[in-house]
Amino acid sequence: MKIKTLTFAIALSTLAFTVSAQAHDPKEHMKNAEKPDCSAMKNMDHSKMDHNKMDMDDPVMQAMMKQCMKNMHHDENSADESHDDHQKDRNDHDPKHQH
């Protein structure tokens, strides 16, 4: 009987320990999360690369767009992401979304 209780206690504490070490949510990494520096992307688009070279089929480009589109929506009220700028970007990119 004693042994059973002991076994149970051990099993329970093992379980508790395992659960605490279980797969963690990406959210746990949020402590030192950075914001994407999307102004760098604007430089990539507007000065270095010309638009014909922007390959919207490239997953890297798509991923950057995803990061920065969201970012723009978040920062809509901040000064340098004014509405005009935003609108302009849209016009620049839209035709290329269409394939």
Partner: protein, 186 residues
């Protein structure tokens, strides 16, 4: 025939005793700042590559490895967990790359640049499986941890996907892809 067996037994004993003496004498330099001699290096490398290749051979690679969402998941995870050892664009060394032996390869460079000839696994699929397996299970007696306990296969495959593009990323591209702060709050 008798003589033959006798000398075989004798040699066997000699090896055992010699090995035991070596083991207990303490002359083997275990410090990470003493490099392996070329025989030990070859032995360990051969052991590692064949072990990984065999263990990884029946993995199946997800078909959507090229998806941009994988780059975002893998990029953020890489930035959180791997940079200190495997570096990123614009970073050439860290305390870990200076001090760990075996030295963690710089994964922001292509295989050729970080000085391995990966000829033994020239085929692309083999390379993907190998990376997945190493990330999931780690490598004994090296600094490479197993990330399987704590991360599901999907997240590990996303890191593999990210690694395929990492060598060609600029520092600015890397920063955007790996920034965690808006990749998950949909």
């Amino acid at each position: 025939m008798k003589v033959y067996i006798k000398s075989l037994v004798f040699t066997g004993m000699l090896i055992l005793v010699g090995g035991g003496l070596f083991l207990y004498s303490g002359v083997y330099p275990i410090g990470a700042d003493t490099r392996h001699n070329s025989l030990t290096y070859w032995l360990l490398e051969t052991l590692r590559e064949h072990s990984v290749a065999r263990a990884a051979s029946d993995l199946s690679i997800p078909s959507d490895l090229n998806n941009s969402n994988r780059l975002l998941s893998g990029g953020a995870d890489y930035n959180d967990m791997c940079v200190s050892c495997h570096l990123k664009p614009g970073m050439s060394e860290s305390d870990f790359t200076l001090g760990l032996y075996p030295t963690p390869p710089n994964l922001s460079e292509t295989a050729a640049e970080h000085g391995h000839d990966h000829a033994s696994r020239a085929d692309h699929d083999g390379a993907l499986k190998r990376q997945f397996w190493i990330i999931k299970h780690g490598i004994k007696a090296s600094g490479m941890p197993a990330w399987g306990p704590g991360h599901d296969d999907e997240r590990i495959w996303s890191m593999v996907a990210f690694l395929q593009r990492l060598p060609e990323l600029s520092a600015a591209q890397y920063q955007i892809l790996s920034a965690r702060d808006n990749s998950i709050d949909e």
